[in-house]
Symmetry: C2
Subunit: 387 residues, 2 copies
């Protein structure tokens, strides 16, 4: 035995991160194979003579608005024959952030995975908004140390941001995303047609993440959002879809090329406006949707950036006006509780560890990592927004 007897080496892994945008994911339009069948047919079949299984887990909001979806899904999969997994009865779970806070939701998913004999060659099909994708993704990541996950996001927010990510999570002890893992989904299928039944409020909410990433990454996307805000609010597809698609790509590229997909550093450069947003969500007991809280956080941090001299007043006004024209809020009663709000900085720091920085715009389309704002700046910015 040497005094310094060491085994060392690097464990290297490469995993495909695959996102596909489509329409009519379940339909064989003009003789083609339905996109969902194509995605499932791609899964490696490591074992011969064995048919994997698939458990769909569906967001209750989406299921209620699309009562025939489960039957169409089954027909599509079954008519594609034995190359497809054997499909289970779908499990419907409540939508929205509450599903991430209720341990019974996670438990019901784990029970369904066990009853459905989902193995490491089988697939969980998560259909829903960002919260449902998070809790189903978490269940899939811990069951048998990770089973395959196919995500079908059903909200603007999930399609333009959340479903691009390689993380999952649930809330615990009253803290957002206290438990979770980093895990690359097997495949992400964004069917733009699924957005048709979304409630207006949820439709609008998702564009807050597009504004967020436009402000810090892409001036052209911001100009498009500014120009088309009214048409987007009114659900014009030709105005909305390019924005969703571009926002998704910016989020996707950051994960693939940003150099820190698993967030080992002390910054989360895409989380502009999010220190306040996460806090406002929990202060409002989730009355505020994530996207609405992000809109307020983006308005707040843009105003702080103006007060700090990082961006000019015209830029701040353009950002706030675009949020308003999209039908998004820029204030909430919770902003009056400054002490409560400032805890958001502390929680952001605690999650990342160390002295976390926050992203702040330095002009349209670019940002810098800076120290989190102080109490006085935040108060001054709130006063401006409330006028």
């Amino acid at each position: 035995m040497q005094p310094n007897d060491l085994l060392t080496g690097d464990l290297r892994i490469g995993v495909e991160h695959r996102v596909r945008f489509c329409r009519a994911a379940l339909e064989a339009t003009s003789g083609t194979t339905p996109p969902i069948v194509e995605e499932l047919a791609r899964l490696p079949r490591t074992a011969t003579g064995f048919r994997p299984r698939m458990l769909p887990v569906v967001d209750g909001g989406f299921a209620a608005a699309n009562p025939d979806f489960a039957a169409r899904l089954r027909r599509t999969i079954e008519s594609a024959g034995s190359a497809m997994p054997a499909i289970d009865e779908p499990l419907v779970v409540p939508g929205g952030e509450g599903s991430k806070s209720d341990p019974a939701v996670l438990e019901s998913i784990l029970n369904a995975l066990d009853r459905g004999r989902i193995c490491r060659q089988s697939v969980v099909l998560a259909i829903g908004g960002g919260a449902v994708l998070d809790v189903v993704g978490y269940a899939a990541a811990i069951f048998h140390r990770g089973v395959r996950l196919l995500r079908m996001p059903t909200t603007t927010l999930a399609q333009d941001d959340a479903a691009m990510g390689v993380k999952n999570g649930i809330n615990h002890r009253g803290k957002k995303n206290l438990l979770g893992t980093f895990a690359v989904p097997t495949s992400v299928l964004c069917d733009l047609d699924l957005l048709g039944t979304l409630a207006d409020r949820d439709w609008r909410s998702g564009f807050a993440e597009a504004v967020k990433i436009a402000v810090i990454r892409d001036e052209a996307l911001f100009a498009r959002l500014e120009r088309d805000a009214k048409a987007i609010r009114e659900r014009d597809r030709s105005a909305s879809e390019p924005v969703i698609r571009r926002s998704a790509e910016l989020h996707y590229r950051h994960i693939l090329e940003g150099g820190d997909p698993f967030e080992l550093g002390t910054a989360r450069p895409l989380d502009f406006g999010h220190w306040a947003a996460h806090r406002l969500e929990s202060m409002s007991n989730h009355r505020l949707r994530h996207g609405e809280a992000v809109a307020i956080g983006v308005a707040l941090d843009s105003t702080i950036a103006m007060l700090d001299g990082r961006i000019d007043e015209t830029t701040q006004r353009r950002i706030v006006a675009t949020l308003l024209e999209l039908g998004l809020p820029i204030t909430a009663p919770e902003l009056d509780d400054l002490d409560g709000l400032m805890q958001g900085v502390e929680e952001f720091r605690e999650h990342l560890g160390g002295v976390a920085t926050v992203a702040m715009p330095i002009r349209l389309g670019a940002s810098a990592e800076v120290q989190p704002p102080g109490r006085e700046e935040v108060a001054a910015a709130i006063a401006i927004l409330q006028r």
Copy 2:
């Protein structure tokens, strides 16, 4: 929007997997820095002006046998100054497989992590046997989507096998390791001196994994085990330590070089004897230690391999004799319940998915992946072992 509008690319990560063997991990022997201080000093300090924290979580069995350990640990860390994390009061958890089955143990660890404000730059120090390393590793892997984990294995089994792995887990719904993740620990520090207070039964138990890997990977290690079995049983350090070290290295090399560290395929080539072992553990309500169950599983599968003509009778007899000379069991009353035992094949298959294969020796030091044994072969092998 193109009909096939795809974002694709590979997410690549490389993580160091680092294992260090030492003695006196807490001591500054002859003026050197204590090994534990060296390991902690290596952690990247991404944030300046911020001191990470460290929560020790200690196996109850080890804590009872080493009542001064926690105080010595604190003194060592504190006297190394501010380059070290701020150390919390240790959390003591029950040792053994029961800690993986009791949700209260996981919850108590998560609560301590939250109370101790462990962030993604902070460290969980897991001190214990394989079961404790598994449940603490799982808690560390899901808390804030993964905090740093330093493992200090305290049993022969953990040092010669379990702590080399890149996985963790807990039992759920009565199934072993139903929940867990793959996660590379930040560092593994094997202090051979920690084995001194281990109970004899636990001491012996760990060598079952050394026999297992010797039979399928290293004829020279098997010859050494065969030759030194009595000395090892009697806890002669010069006989035991090279075996522990070599077994650890073989397990480590397999993970780093075996091509499937996260078990995406349908085989677990090191799990020779384990389909029966996992099942025997749960059939005996964990009266059988993992190592004891592995000894029985290795004896059983070696006998099946002989009946199948894969190895000769001399080889089978040498394997069984070595296990017995090490003080390990080769049978248990649970073998009489053949139906119950055969469920082990099904559970093994379900965890991996598909038609799992099992590793079987083809001569000393080499193995092949073959179809799991049938009921008749298993019955015949049991009859031979029971004679």
